[in-house]
């Protein structure tokens, strides 16, 4: 029973990271209908910047802030410089651009910080069952989700952003600066992505550190349904706990296979994800 509890708690902590990454993918998908495959690379660069700042100043939290800030800037720049020009052409172009950016940034990370792993600190004590670090991760994700909900639901800015995503033409006529709203969407998403990166990277950082996490994050987003941020968060936790059980009882090598099977099972029952409509459904 103790083992079971342990696995569940580990799964919740891992699930928080998948949920954060899924959330960052969904914010972008809702704003611009693009799945941002460069998200792990943006988060990776943000984490490397955090590492540099932390090493230089000795403060973890300064590095943390630097990561979020640089994530935001990179997200906004990506939208402005790379995605906007191909937005109108086709979805495949945008996918290829983000894939190209993924390769480019991972290569650049390797060039600057080398392919060798560096050790990377946890924000807090990480020992024991559901350690303070785990708690911090879950709390940070849930807090970020609530902030985002408040932003989109209750502020004029959020209203504009939703309008820009839902009916760009109409929103523009009503005086919303649609382009700015889309850039802002990417910036916010990349902050969440950088947060996910900061939580997912420890104990070691290397250019491919976030690849598998990204796959699970995308799986979580797809399971939850790409049109529903809450679905993606729930999808992240569901996937985290399920994978933790698979890893604990059957072996960690089967985790990707289990993710695939869960994904296929969910999608064959509901091809648009679990929570596309308000009606929730148990797996």
């Amino acid at each position: 029973m103790d083992y079971f509890t342990n696995l569940t708690l580990n799964g919740v902590a891992e699930g928080a990271i998948y949920a954060a990454l899924a959330l960052s993918l969904i914010i972008i998908y809702q704003a611009t209908r693009v799945v941002n495959f460069a998200q792990p690379a943006l988060a990776l660069i943000a984490a490397y910047i955090a590492l540099t700042v932390t090493t230089a100043t000795g403060s973890y939290w300064l590095g943390f802030a630097a990561a979020l800030a640089s994530g935001m800037l990179m997200g906004a720049a990506t939208e402005r410089l790379l995605i906007r020009p191909v937005q109108k052409t086709s979805q495949l172009s945008a996918i290829i651009i983000t894939l190209g950016l993924l390769l480019l940034l991972q290569g650049v990370a390797g060039m600057i910080w080398s392919n060798e792993p560096h050790s990377f600190n946890y924000p807090m004590d990480y020992q024991g069952q559901f350690s303070p670090a785990d708690f911090f991760g879950v709390a940070a994700i849930l807090g970020a989700a609530m902030l985002l909900f408040a932003l989109y639901r209750w502020t004029p800015l959020g209203l504009r952003m939703r309008a820009a995503a839902a009916h760009p033409e109409m929103a523009r006529m009503l005086g919303v600066r649609v382009g700015l709203m889309l850039t802002l969407g990417w910036a916010i998403a990349s902050i969440v992505g950088a947060l996910a990166g900061m939580l997912a990277v420890p104990p070691f950082i290397f250019p491919n550190a976030l690849d598998s996490v990204f796959v699970y994050g995308l799986a979580a987003a797809v399971i939850g349904g790409l049109d529903n941020p809450f679905g993606s968060i729930l999808g992240g936790f569901i996937l985290g706990v399920s994978l933790s059980f698979v890893s604990g009882y059957l072996g960690p090598e089967l985790m990707p296979m289990a993710a695939l099977i869960i994904l296929i099972l969910v999608l064959s029952v509901r091809p648009d994800g679990l929570f596309t409509r308000p009606k929730a459904r148990k797996v």
Partner: protein, 380 residues
Amino acid sequence: MASSQKSPATAAEPKAEEATRGTPKPRGLVARWNALPMLLRHILAACAAMGAVIVLTSVTGQGENTRIASVGFYMLAIAGLGILIGFSGQVSLGHGAFMFIGAYSTALFVLHVPMMPLWLNLILATAISCLAGLIIGVVCARLHGPYLAGATLALAVALPALANRFSEFLGGPNGLDFLMRGTPPALSDAIPNTSWQAWVVWLTVLIVLVFLANLSHGRLGRQMRAVRDDESAAALSGIRVARVKVTAFVISAGCGGLAGALQAYMLKTATPSTFTVALSLSLLAVLVLGGLGSLWGALWGAIAMVYVEEWGDELAHTLDLGTNVANNLPHVLYGVLLIALVLAWPSGVQGFLRQLGNALRPREHSGYGTPSVPPTHEGK
């Protein structure tokens, strides 16, 4: 439309006209060539290509032969992926998984049934990949866009991990090493092993490419494009959408599997680290880089796949860069190339060449009115 060889009768029908888009025919050939039956044209082109490969492998060294062969099997995998993405509009991020299946099938057959001839081995490996493609295709036929991308990406991660799980059967992280006969003993003095291997690879690849070229211009290709452009309209015209999509998946999985099998035959090993997610993503990337919707695009893509890394290494060497920079230069080059190409030439290298060709010979079109640039194909 620049496909000038078509009569006005077919040009009146948009679907049929579209079918001629991206015809992989050599440039500058006269109408007599175009009057030949399609199959014959493709077979002749394949024979010419085979001749070119034989000449090329004879004048180059061993390392170059291996690279020429690599271009061959990558071209096959990319062409298969092109059928799936460019023709039926389904984006797969997991095509490395089918190469994995093909490579491991070949390796297991060689290890456990050593007497099996190579051709049977390749056919069986292709069949197994087709079967896997059928299963995945049936499951994924209802999915679209990012949902399909997510599922196939998970596939690309999940399958190679199995090799570590069943390490006594699949060899774990070191993979399976095996021995395969290269040049037949009677010819072993005259023909180097690597040349022979390159010929075998290219012969197989060209046979399949003839099949693919014919298929993409025939009824199934037309149906696939109809499904890609508008599923509802296609269904209303009597096309069985799900069946067409699954067929496309099976064909492209088979191509991927055969490519993996040929790779295993070349390298005499199958390791899980060869079939990473990066491989699947690179296949997609070079496909777009070469140009979607045309088999020529697959060739440019395959050349990029093999040689960009090569040139990156050489460039790093000549510039005397540090190891950190040198190791990552190919990735960065790839990334920059992809982004630049999508921004500047969304139709890929082949689209660029086609436009260039049209710009260079405006006179041929003068009889048909204004020379038109073919619509750039942009997938979906």
